[in-house]
């Protein structure tokens, strides 16, 4: 978590320099913020949501190697 937090200023500084993917940068900052604010262990619902998110990435085109 510390490593991710340390990178935030660098990644935020990149926002004006990129023309695509700004929404991913914003989503990343939002997710890191949520993770940093976590104060307890995941509930079964959160656990299921995370597992579903992992499963969804298996068929995500961004996760497929070059052809």
């Amino acid at each position: 978590m510390t490593a991710a937090l340390a990178l935030i200023p660098q990644v935020v500084a990149l926002i004006p320099t990129v023309k695509v993917g700004v929404q991913h940068l914003i989503e990343w900052v939002r997710e890191i913020r949520t993770a940093a604010q976590q104060s307890g262990e995941w509930t079964p619902d959160l656990e299921m949501q995370f597992q579903a998110a992992l499963t969804a990435r298996v068929s995500d085109p961004a996760y497929q190697p070059d052809r």
Binding site: M1, T2, A3, A4, L5, A6, L7, I8, P9, Q10, V11, V12, L14, I15, P16, T17, V18, K19, V20, G21, H24, L25, E27, W28, V29, R30, E31, I32, R33, T34, A35, A36, Q37, Q38, S39, G40, E41, W42, F50, Q51, A53, L54, R57, V58, S59, P61, A62, Y63, Q64, P65, D66
Partner: protein, 137 residues
């Protein structure tokens, strides 16, 4: 850009205020869950940005693109599908976390695996931040 920058400053400021742990929560489990979530969002960030213009990054940022490809390579299977390494790395921590909860894995094993996952996510972010330049797409 100014209002946007101000908003981001607020968001980043809020990050510094990490919440204290609830009573009874195991700090190692919470840390593992945080690492899993942060790693998934970091992998989402870099893989989507690379995917948006693979040709550009292959030519202009080969180290970044190669590391993204390494994250995409199939590294485990669920019996039916080949699963990208990025997801396998997170699933391994997930399995260890459950084994630790069931007292079938020790804390050192989980702490080491969490540190390695964090290092991988940090490495790919560093590669990306070194890569992005004003002429990047």
């Amino acid at each position: 850009m100014k209002p946007f920058g101000f908003l981001l400053t607020l968001v980043v400021g809020a990050l510094v205020a990490c919440a204290p742990l609830q009573k009874g929560a195991d700090p190692l489990i919470v840390r593992a869950e945080q690492a899993e979530r942060a790693a998934l969002s970091t992998f989402d960030l870099v893989l989507n940005i690379d995917h948006a213009n693979r040709d550009f990054f292959r030519t202009n940022a080969p180290a970044f693109h190669s590391f993204c490809e390494w994250l995409r390579e199939p590294d485990c299977s669920d019996g039916t599908n080949q699963i990208p390494r990025a997801i396998c790395l997170i699933r391994r921590i997930d399995n260890l976390r459950h084994r630790y909860k069931d007292q079938r894995a020790d804390s050192n094993e989980l702490a080491t695996a969490v540190s390695m996952l964090q290092a991988t996510a940090a490495h790919v972010s560093q590669l990306y931040s070194q890569t992005a330049k004003p002429n990047a797409p």
